[in-house]
């Protein structure tokens, strides 16, 4: 049983994560700090702002606004002092300019300020009316008096009337200026508040980003507990498997060095869950002593390297005292660093399997032995057979030659002492002897076919057949036999053996057509049930198909010797040759209608 488990992320990953989050927070803080710094520079009351305002104030101080008529007032006083008409005219011109400027600016402000504006009254009543009066008096009284050269009148006007208007204007301007300043200040304050609010918002946004980063980091960090959780789940699955599996299971805590054996496992060795304690001692107690080193080594090897799977076969003593074979498999769970901290495994009872294997092994050994014995016997038989045929070859022919030789001596030397019948008997002795010689030769040939080593090479059957028919024709010049041989029948086979087979077949065909005045022999290729086959057809004596079964067995003859002489070994030899080429040979015939002998050579 495979125990699912996920690798646990170790502290190394955790620290990496912290460093990453830290770097992100730090970067964000730097960004925020720089943003705040810039804001601080720009904000109202800030460095830049202050500089701008200062220069503005200075300008305001140096250059009186047109609404403030101090310039006109001063010019009017100058007029009182000057006697030169040219200088007087220049001052008069300036006075008029200042008055015009006032008129324009005043009109502008009256148009700009809405009717409801609180400053409008002060502008019109306080600033505007005295100033208008002032410039009226300048135009209508002061300038004519000055042009008249009446300096007394000018001074009187300055002292009594213009001075009062100037002071009224000045007071109004001061109050309006104070009002405007306070207004500006309040605006500045509100702007400061706005900026502060905006800064707050920015800070909030920054905090939000940092916060979400932190949450993200936190969630990521929580993966470790999640892995633990998945382990818990696998443990649950394991428990399910423990309950469901027919395999016994064990669970070993490598750190606490404790072990758990499932009830199924305990049942396998004949114990109930309570009877067999969950400890190593109990296990090693029932472990076969011979199997302990191997088992310990296998476990250690797997703990040492996860590349070496844990597989072990060992014997445990059943409660009934009998040792049974078990096969254990298991897997160590490892932390992020690859250190094993737990090992889970399954155990199945393989006693029957081992018994069966043992039986198979035993049977195989027996079989092998039997094969060896048989082979040895066969070898012996073969050797005996070889010795037999060797001695047949040597020893059986010699006495035949003797019989034949001495019969001939009798015929030659004692012919006059024998009557005709005696001489005929003697002739019979000799022909039988020679027949015996042929049988011996054929038998030796047959055994040679079986023994001979096959040398497969291309063979031209047509050429072989032609050579045979011409040889047969030459040997029997009186016979009239028409031979037709299909040209180009190329096959693969042992040339010597095929020649022997064809020789027998053609000799048969020749022999069994010997009673015909004009015989026909054909050798050709045709299509059989299972591919191409070769056929030798003659129109000779034929045979009764009822006896076809005997045809290819040695020493079986279907004709009387007197009709067609033969040893009965020829077709048996053909059969062996074709068999050795993996082919089949069969014959079709009818008495007096000739014979067809077919053979196949599937080797091609």
């Amino acid at each position: 049983m495979a125990i699912p488990h996920r690798p646990i992320r170790g502290p190394s990953t955790l620290s990496k994560l912290i460093v990453f989050v830290g770097a992100a927070v730090f970067g964000l803080l730097v960004l925020t700090g720089s943003a705040l710094y810039t804001l601080n520079q720009v904000k109202v009351g800030g460095t830049l702002y202050r500089q701008v305002i200062e220069s503005k104030d200075l300008r305001a101080d140096l250059l009186p606004p047109p609404l403030y008529i101090v310039e006109g007032y001063l010019l009017a006083h100058e007029l009182a002092e000057v006697g030169n008409p040219a200088a007087r005219d220049s001052i008069l011109q300036k006075l008029r300019q200042v008055g015009g400027l006032f008129q324009r600016r005043y009109a502008h402000w009256l148009a700009t300020l809405p009717p409801s504006h609180p400053h409008r009254d002060i502008l019109r009543e306080g600033v505007g009316k005295p100033a208008i009066r002032f410039f009226d008096k300048v135009e209508n009284q002061l300038i004519p008096a000055s042009q008249r050269g009446d300096l007394g009148e000018v001074r009187k006007l300055l002292r009594d009337s213009l001075d009062r208007d100037y002071r009224l204007n000045r007071r109004a301007v001061d109050s309006l200026s104070a009002l405007a300043r306070s207004e500006v200040e309040s605006r500045e304050a509100s702007a400061g508040t706005t900026i502060a609010v905006e800064m707050g918002a920015l800070l909030f946004a920054a905090a939000l980003v940092i916060g979400s980063l932190l949450v993200f980091a936190f969630l990521w960090l929580r993966q470790v507990p999640k892995v633990e959780k998945s382990l818990l789940m696998s443990e649950e699955r394991f428990q399910l498997a423990v309950n469901a599996s027919s395999a016994g299971l064990w669970d070993r805590d490598l750190i606490a060095n404790t072990v758990y054996f499932s009830p199924v496992f305990k049942a396998m060795i004949g114990y109930t869950d309570e009877e067999f304690p969950n400890d190593f001692a109990a296990f090693f107690n029932i472990l076969h002593p011979e199997d302990k080193p191997g088992l310990v080594a296998a476990v250690q090897a797997h703990i040492g390297s996860e590349k070496i799977p844990y597989r072990a076969e060992y014997r445990l003593k059943h409660k009934n005292g009998e040792y049974r074979w078990f096969q254990g498999r298991g897997e160590a769970l490892r932390d992020g660093e690859g250190r094993p901290y737990r090992m889970l495994g399954s155990v199945i009872d393989i006693t029957e399997q081992r018994r069966a294997e043992e039986e198979i092994r035993r049977l195989n050994t027996e079989l092998e032995q039997r094969v060896l014995d048989r082979t040895a016997q066969l070898d012996l038989i073969n050797r005996e057979l070889q010795a037999f045929s060797y001695s047949v070859s040597h020893d059986l022919r010699a006495p035949l030659r003797g019989i034949d030789g001495w019969s001939l001596v009798l015929q030659e030397d004692y012919a006059d002492k024998l009557d005709a019948q005696g001489r005929e008997y003697l002739q019979s002795v000799r022909s039988e002897t020679q027949r015996m010689g042929h049988i011996i030769d054929d038998m030796l040939n047959l055994s040679r076919v079986t023994k001979a080593e096959m040398r497969i090479a291309p063979v031209d059957l047509s050429r072989l057949a032609s050579a045979m028919t011409s040889r047969l024709a030459k040997a029997n010049p009186l016979r009239k036999v028409e031979c037709r041989i299909e040209p180009g029948m190329h096959v693969h086979g042992d040339a010597g053996l095929l020649e022997m087979a064809l020789n027998n077949l053609f000799e048969n065909a020749w022999k069994f057509t010997s009673r015909k005045d004009a015989a026909h022999i054909e050798f050709f290729r045709t299509e059989g049930e299972s591919g191409p086959c070769y056929c030798l057809r003659d129109d000779g004596a034929g045979f009764d198909m009822a006896h076809a079964g005997k045809l290819f067995s040695p020493f079986q003859r279907l004709h009387k010797y007197a009709e067609f002489p033969g040893t009965g070994i020829g077709l048996a030899t053909v059969h062996r040759v074709i068999s050795r080429h993996g082919g089949k040979v069969w014959a079709e015939s009818r008495v007096n209608e000739g014979t067809r002998v077919y053979f196949t050579l599937p080797i091609n």
Partner: protein, 150 residues
């Protein structure tokens, strides 16, 4: 021609008699020395025994032809051949294996051992007589005897 001795190494009395008859029929009158086993053949060739027949060899003389059967008591034909070819004095002797066997391994061993010819004895006596006649004509008349080795 008469001086040329033929050594027949053959243990079968019937074959010995029939061979003699075949020679006579072929009018080959060379002295025929018969050794009935391999050892006897070697003893004869190496001068250890003097056969009682009229084919006794003069000093340093060798037969003109050896007809050697393969299946022999004591030493077989191939061993005899081996000795003949192994000795300086006899190594050029014409040796014709004359046997009943047509077994391939006998043929191969015969030629490998240095036989000059291999003839299978036919069963039919007429054929056998023809073979003997041709052998005698060829080896004793047609064939030039190898030079003597001193």
């Amino acid at each position: 021609m008469n001086s040329k001795v033929i050594l027949l190494v053959e243990d079968n009395p019937s074959d010995i008699a029939l061979t003699k008859r075949a020679f006579e029929k072929s009018r080959i009158s060379n002295p025929l020395v018969v050794a009935e086993d391999g050892q006897e053949a070697l003893d004869y060739l190496f001068g250890k025994t003097k056969p009682s027949v009229d084919g006794a060899l003069a000093e340093n003389e060798l037969p003109a032809l050896i007809l050697l059967d393969l299946k022999l008591p004591k030493l077989d034909g191939l061993e005899v051949l081996q000795h003949i070819r192994g000795h300086e004095r006899t190594r050029r002797l014409p040796v014709v294996i004359l046997t009943s066997s047509k077994e391939d391994r006998d043929l191969a061993a015969g030629y490998d051992g240095g036989a000059n010819s291999y003839v299978c004895k036919p069963v039919k006596f007429e054929d056998f007589a023809v073979a003997i006649e041709q052998l005698g004509l060829y080896w004793l008349v047609l064939n030039e005897i190898p030079p003597k080795i001193d």
